[in-house]
């Protein structure tokens, strides 16, 4: 008996300690997780902002002042120390996010989350994310060891922090998922930059367009997907003189489209990823100083993608938004210039059909067989054996789709040609911009930038404003890369690149302002082929119209424009629909809704009902109109909003207006208006019964979701903010202005900035999400641009980073 008792108590003891220290299913290991000495209770605090910390390898002391927004103001004596300090401080406040983003970039989420992430990881590997990062490192090793050295400094800084970190101090997410941080490396910075490239230049619809072309024919395709809409208001003003360009567009070969059927494509980045930026010249500014603004539109996440810092050495002094993992300030200013980016949305991904030999070791090219290279992707999976995926590489790039991935053809595949694989030196651009003193320095800094192509806005204390559309762009023949191409024909390869100095740009234009909002870069007069890869068509016109309404603009005007909720899209269709729709069959309830939208002033303000009605109405109308594109087992894409509205108003009886399912009837546009309206009214009534009302704020319910699948406990919901897609205040449900900055070019510049998050990555800190309410209310925080390492009254704590002299 006593043996039995001993045994049972032994099993219980082992059992309870195993259960409390092991991650079982979705639950964290409860004992470890809740232990007051090592678990989450140790995260119940703010990060320290005083005292000393040691960073091995520092040459001299670095002073870090914190202001009340917990923005670190870093004063280093040289650039190496500066980037060590940036790495250290970023890790201190955002370690989990810093690392998680590069796991996501590299296709390594299965290591943390388990098998559920395998499909995601495989797609990222096949997209060549790791390959592209390797290329970037290889480029720097060969041509720019200075920048590579700074990457290593940053890594040293991050690792100094990780090395000092006891397990009880790990960020909460590590405890939740039960893993530990690994060492940082230069490759991880390269991966982070690939992640940005994917986010902003990783989308294309070539394969979908190929399906569409086969389905509806060339004439209809050109009607639905024109290269230029009937009117455009491009980034570079229409009257720009291009006569200085003396390299011509690649000549059109007799190339044929490959009309394959593609069933399924890899996940695309959010098409709403975009931004606004603009600058007015001194002549157009109330104070006589140029003013610049930037607001990048990205997913609204916690911890936020941005971390604000001041980064200075005796030689330069930069301030603005940084991205954990990248060096220097990304969108910001220094003593002389200010800069910001919006996405240029250019087509830098093309697809080639590859024909293999029998054992897939070679592929056909120019009438011969060329060898395939194999890159084995070893995907580790938590709690399981790792998964090995052999990705075949051609001279075009990785064969993303083949018999092992989303295709069943034994001897063919689709290879991706992506500028992201070309090993650019993006980091150098930011490091140089941080130090730039004038327009020439800015132009010089941009030349290293390959992808993602950006509209870089610029203003200087000298009084210049400018905007360059910078990226490495293939000089394509007319129509090249719109559809799937034959990968065996050399004429289909990218033949050359547009010389960098011929990238579209404008300096001090006559109109007195520059702006960009992801719209067409140029009009038809630019002498190179520019394909419509999803250009925005509404924000740009609201912004440009705003700047033609009066003579001079102030910082207050800039704030108003950031927070502008005008829905131009609705304004261009709603009155037309109201006028042409047959209202005789509307019920009392429907008439009430009709009345509500008739009186809407087209502002997407929080207490309006118009935006909700519009969203329901247009959403249903769009789906009814493009029902032809709702086909199973085929990857398709339906037309852009601008062209949809254009067709509804000008081609109201086109065959596409017909609803395919109603065989005995042929609908025209105004029938769709009514049908969609009735469906929308029904749904709105349901929403009202369920939630009380359908005011825009409730209907939209903007939220900032935690990076880990929007864990509700670590997210913020029901953020009261207006705006929406295609509106200057581009805040939709979970996407929008992720950083708002306004800089007036006084000497030194005076700046405002805010983002929907907080400086701390710790959900247990008051600084985790403390900017959100002010951001939603359209408020800004003054950025305390310190001119020396003397602490001012704005400083609430100072930490000194010291070298270890051993």
């Amino acid at each position: 008996m006593k043996y039995v008792k001993l045994f049972i108590s032994f099993v219980f003891t082992i059992g309870i300690f195993y259960a409390l220290n092991t991650k079982l299913g979705p639950l964290p290991p409860l004992g470890k997780f809740l232990n007051p000495g090592s678990g989450i209770w140790q995260n119940e605090k703010d990060e320290s902002i005083t005292g000393n910390a040691t960073i091995p390898g520092l040459k001299e002391q670095v002073t870090v002042h914190y202001d009340e927004q917990m923005i670190p103001h870093v004063f280093a004596q040289n650039e190496h120390d500066l980037y060590k300090a940036q790495g250290y401080l970023t890790a201190k406040h955002r370690l989990w996010q810093l690392e998680f983003q590069t796991y996501a970039a590299a296709g390594r989420l299965s290591e943390i989350i388990g098998e559920g992430a395998l499909n995601y990881d495989r797609a990222e590997r096949r997209r060549g994310m790791g390959y592209g990062a390797d290329q970037a490192i290889a480029y720097m090793e060969q041509y720019d060891t200075e920048t590579l050295g700074f990457l290593q400094d940053y890594a040293d800084g991050v690792n100094a922090y990780i090395d000092q970190l006891a397990p009880e101090d790990y960020p909460v997410e590590y405890k939740l998922l039960d893993y530990s941080p690994e060492a940082w490396s230069s490759k991880k910075t390269a991966l982070l930059l690939m992640y940005m490239t994917k986010m902003l230049a990783g989308g294309d619809d070539d394969l979908e367009y190929t399906n569409v072309l086969r389905l509806i024919g060339k004439e209809n395709f050109n009607l639905l997907f024109p290269d230029f809409f009937d009117s455009v208001d491009p980034v570079i003003p229409k009257d720009t003189d291009w006569s200085f360009i003396d390299v011509t567009q690649t000549e059109l070969p007799a190339s044929q489209v490959v009309l394959d059927t593609i069933v399924e494509t890899i996940e695309k980045p959010n098409p709403d990823n975009g931004s606004n930026n603009w600058a007015v010249s001194g002549a157009k500014s109330v104070t006589g100083n140029p003013i610049l603004a930037n607001d990048p539109h990205l997913g609204l996440n916690l911890p936020s993608i941005w971390f604000v810092m001041q980064l200075s050495t005796p030689e330069h002094n930069a301030f603005g938004a940084t991205i954990p993992g990248a060096l220097g300030v990304i969108s910001g200013f220094n003593q002389y210039i200010a800069w910001g980016e919006t996405n240029a949305t250019r087509d830098v991904i093309d697809w080639y059909k590859i024909e293999f030999n029998n054992d897939r070791t070679q592929y056909k090219y120019d009438g011969q067989w060329k060898n395939v290279r194999v890159r084995v992707e070893d995907i580790k999976i938590k709690g399981k054996e790792s998964y090995k995926d052999s990705v075949l590489y051609t001279h075009h790039g990785p064969v993303v789709y083949d018999k092992n991935f989303r295709s069943d053809n034994e001897r063919s595949g689709y290879a991706m040609r992506w500028i992201g694989h070309d090993g650019g030196n993006n980091q150098k651009t930011f490091i140089a911009l941080n130090k730039a003193k004038n327009y020439d320095d800015y132009v010089n800094a941009l030349q290293y930038w390959n992808a993602p192509a950006q509209n870089f806005v610029f203003a200087s204390t000298e009084g210049d404003i400018a905007l360059w559309i910078q990226g490495k762009f293939p000089n394509k023949w007319e129509g090249q890369g719109k559809f799937l191409m034959d990968g065996s024909n050399p004429e289909n390869d990218w033949q050359s690149y547009i010389p960098q100095k011929f990238n579209a740009h404008t300096k001090n234009p006559e109109r007195g302002f520059v702006s960009s909002a992801n719209q067409h870069p140029v009009d038809e007069n630019y002498p190179y082929y520019v394909f419509n890869d999803g250009y925005e068509t509404y924000r740009n016109r609201v912004i440009n119209t705003f700047f033609s309404t009066k003579e001079k603009f102030s910082v207050q005007d800039f704030k108003d424009l950031h927070n502008n909720n005008y829905n131009l899209k609705a304004e261009e269709l709603v009155p037309y629909m109201l006028e042409h729709m047959d209202t005789s069959s509307l019920s009392e309830d429907e008439k009430a809704i009709y009345q509500e939208i008739s009186t809407w002033n087209f502002n997407n303000d929080i207490d309006e009902v118009g935006p909700s009605i519009w969203r329901q109405w247009y959403g249903r109308l769009y789906n009814m109109l493009w029902d032809e594109f709702d086909v199973e087992d085929m990857a398709l894409v339906s037309p852009y909003t601008y062209q949809t509205i254009h067709l509804l108003k000008n081609y109201g009886d086109h065959e596409f207006m017909d609803i395919v399912a109603t065989e005995d009837k042929t609908e025209v546009a105004k029938d769709l208006f009514l049908l969609a309206f009735k469906e929308a009214a029904k749904r709105l009534k349901e929403i009202k019964e369920q939630d009380g009302d359908y005011t825009w704020v409730n209907y939209k319910s903007t939220y900032a979701g935690h990076l880990l699948q929007a864990l509700p406990a670590f997210s913020r919901f029901d953020i009261p903010i207006g705006g929406g897609r295609n509106i200057v205040n581009a805040t939709s449900e979970n996407h929008g202005p992720s950083w708002r900055m306004i800089v007036e070019m006084t000497s030194p510049p005076t700046a405002l900035g805010i983002y929907p998050g907080g400086q701390s990555g710790n959900p247990g800190s008051q600084y985790y999400d403390n900017f959100i309410d002010d951001w939603a209310a359209g408020k800004y925080h003054s950025l305390n641009f310190l001119q020396s390492d003397e602490a001012t009254s704005a400083i609430i704590g100072t930490q000194t980073l010291i070298p270890n002299h051993d």
Binding site: K5, F10, I16, P36, W41, E44, K45, A713
Partner: protein
């Protein structure tokens, strides 16, 4: 003096429970229970920080109590040999 019967389990159980509860309360109250509220929501016990503190105490107490029972068995086993 060795503990007897139920006390073998409950005395260490209560001791550790109390120790953990007080420890957590001190850490968490100094930070307005910001994280405790969130973790309580995460573990789906209603977002109540005090309940999370109690659960933490019970978890610690259970481990202590069960270990103590095991310890007692070893000592009983050894003494009876």
């Amino acid at each position: 003096m060795p503990l007897k019967k139920g006390a073998v389990f409950f005395v260490p159980f209560l001791a550790i429970l109390l120790y953990w509860v007080v420890h957590c309360f001190i850490l968490s109250s100094a930070n307005d229970f910001i994280l405790a509220k969130k973790v309580s929501q995460l573990l789906q016990i209603g977002g109540n920080p005090y309940l999370l503190i109690l659960v933490t105490g019970i978890v610690g107490g259970l481990a202590a109590g069960i270990s103590a029972v095991f310890g007692k068995q070893i000592s009983t086993f050894a003494n009876n040999k």
